[in-house]
């Protein structure tokens, strides 16, 4: 017994090493399912504080571009608004709305009730240099942010809220190998699954599009709205390259992202007020299995 104590005392650092290493690795393993990650994310108060106070310093360089984008979006929304007013005046359907601006067209359901609500937030931290990238926003639970809200920049998909702190929230970016999003080719409505292969921060990959579907360079890829977090028809990017692997039934499609992830400053959060109901219905289906 005394020898055992002596051994432990002598090699105490080896035991400490083993304990801490196993603890860290088990965190890595459990964290690989991003939905289980609940503690020590960048939405905690301390990292949020630093990000919020330092974000401005670096974002100054991106402001000019962000300004232009916001102005463009403003102009587009103003045009859409006019058509909207015209439509309510004439009480006739304006096709411009549905064609040009999904943000307005898709926010209503068939009973003319508003389903999607938008609020804005500022990006205080963002990375593109990892395999699993996240953004941190300056709004949290106290400001009404909830998990599973969609995040868009100028009407283009950025990511999904995963963790919500009191005043900050963490967003999983499209540039994260652990997130898959259903997306479709706008021209012919064939849908597949969109994910990132961890290489180029300007390109994501659209998979599961069968080989008989006509695909062209320059096709727009948009959201399907299946998940309920995004309205249908939000732009994701443009097809830049597609190949059909030998013996494969599916295309490998590279999509150039519409959002420049290195210069995101301002984003909009999309809230689906019917998401709870959708999830409840879908879980009923799963229980029946």
């Amino acid at each position: 017994m005394r020898n055992l104590f002596r051994l432990i005392l002598r090699y105490h650092y080896v035991f400490l090493f083993l304990i801490l290493e196993i603890f860290s690795l088990s965190m890595v393993v459990s964290y690989n399912n991003f939905q289980q990650a609940k503690f020590l994310t960048s939405s905690n108060g301390i990292s949020g504080y630093f990000f919020e106070n330092f974000a401005g310093v670096f974002q100054v360089f991106d402001l000019k571009k962000a300004n232009t984008e916001l102005a463009e979006e403003n102009a587009e929304l103003r045009t859409a608004l006019q058509h909207y007013q015209l439509r309510s005046a004439n009480n006739s359907k304006s096709s411009y709305l549905t064609e040009r601006n999904p943000l307005i067209a898709m926010t209503r359901d068939s009973l003319n009730k508003i389903v999607y609500f938008f609020t804005t937030a500022r990006v205080i931290n963002n990375s593109v240099n990892q395999r699993h990238n996240f953004l941190t926003l300056n709004k949290g639970r106290n400001q009404g942010v909830k998990a599973d809200m969609g995040v868009v920049s100028a009407g283009r998909v950025v990511g999904l809220v995963t963790n919500v702190g009191d005043n900050y929230s963490t967003v999983i970016s499209i540039l994260n190998e652990r997130w898959k999003l259903s997306a479709k080719i706008k021209r012919n409505d064939f849908f597949g699954s969109l994910s990132w292969n961890g290489r180029d921060y300007r390109k994501v990959q659209l998979n599961e599009i069968p080989y008989h579907v006509p695909v062209q360079n320059g096709d727009t890829v948009v959201t399907t709205g299946f998940s309920g977090s995004f309205p249908e028809g939000l732009e994701i990017g443009i097809v830049s390259e597609y190949t059909l692997g030998s013996g494969s039934n599916f295309y490998k499609i590279d999509v150039d992202l519409a959002v420049d992830f290195r210069s995101i400053v301002q984003v909009a959060l999309v809230e689906n007020r019917q998401l709870k109901e959708i999830n409840k219905l879908e879980s009923l289906n799963n229980d029946g299995k």
């Binding site: 650092y13 400490l16 090493f17 801490l20 290493e21 964290y31 240099n129």
Partner: protein, 168 residues
């Protein structure tokens, strides 16, 4: 003692903040990004207790993880670095230097020695880090290339910062 505590706490805070607020935003050729914060573990005194090294490695890694949403990845790698540091230092330096000077610095050792010292640890750190981050052997070659070129950048930054801030 108190002086040392203050000094190393300051190095810890500055290197973590520099990493997460500035260096994490660097991405060259769409694949190279430096991990500079390791400098804290490299600069600790020779006579730091082994358990202390491992524990500090854990705290350092965890702090980085909290900012970058990579829970456990940096912690696991830094704990290992803390564990192997004494063994590697025993190999590459003599007992006399370890007893005569307090900590590994460019001012007390030669430039060549400091570069190879940094390079050894950065290599271990980056290879493990990038592989653990990828968490797959798919695209192993790409991960390797990223780790090597990022490592070169990290070594350069650490050595340059030695000239700038730790010249005595």
């Amino acid at each position: 003692m108190v002086n040392n505590l203050l000094k190393y706490s300051l190095i810890f805070i500055v290197s973590v903040l520099l990493q997460v607020l500035v260096l994490n935003h660097i991405l060259i050729f769409r694949m190279i990004s430096p991990f500079y914060y390791l400098i804290f573990l490299l600069l600790l005194p020779y006579d730091t207790p082994r358990a202390m090294l491992i524990f500090l490695g854990f705290i350092l890694g965890l702090s980085i993880d909290a900012f970058t949403n990579t829970l456990g990845v940096h912690a696991a790698v830094c704990v290992l670095i803390g564990f192997v540091r004494p063994a590697i230092l025993n190999k590459i330096s003599t007992r006399e230097t370890r007893e005569s000077v307090s900590a590994p610095r460019i001012s007390t050792m030669s430039l060549n020695w400091f570069i190879s010292y940094t390079a050894i640890f950065v290599t271990i750190h980056h290879l493990l880090l990038f592989m653990l981050e990828a968490f797959t052997f798919q695209g192993f070659f790409f991960t390797l290339i990223r780790a090597i070129f990022s490592g070169i950048l990290s070594v350069t930054l650490i050595v340059i910062s030695q000239f700038l801030f730790f010249r005595k």
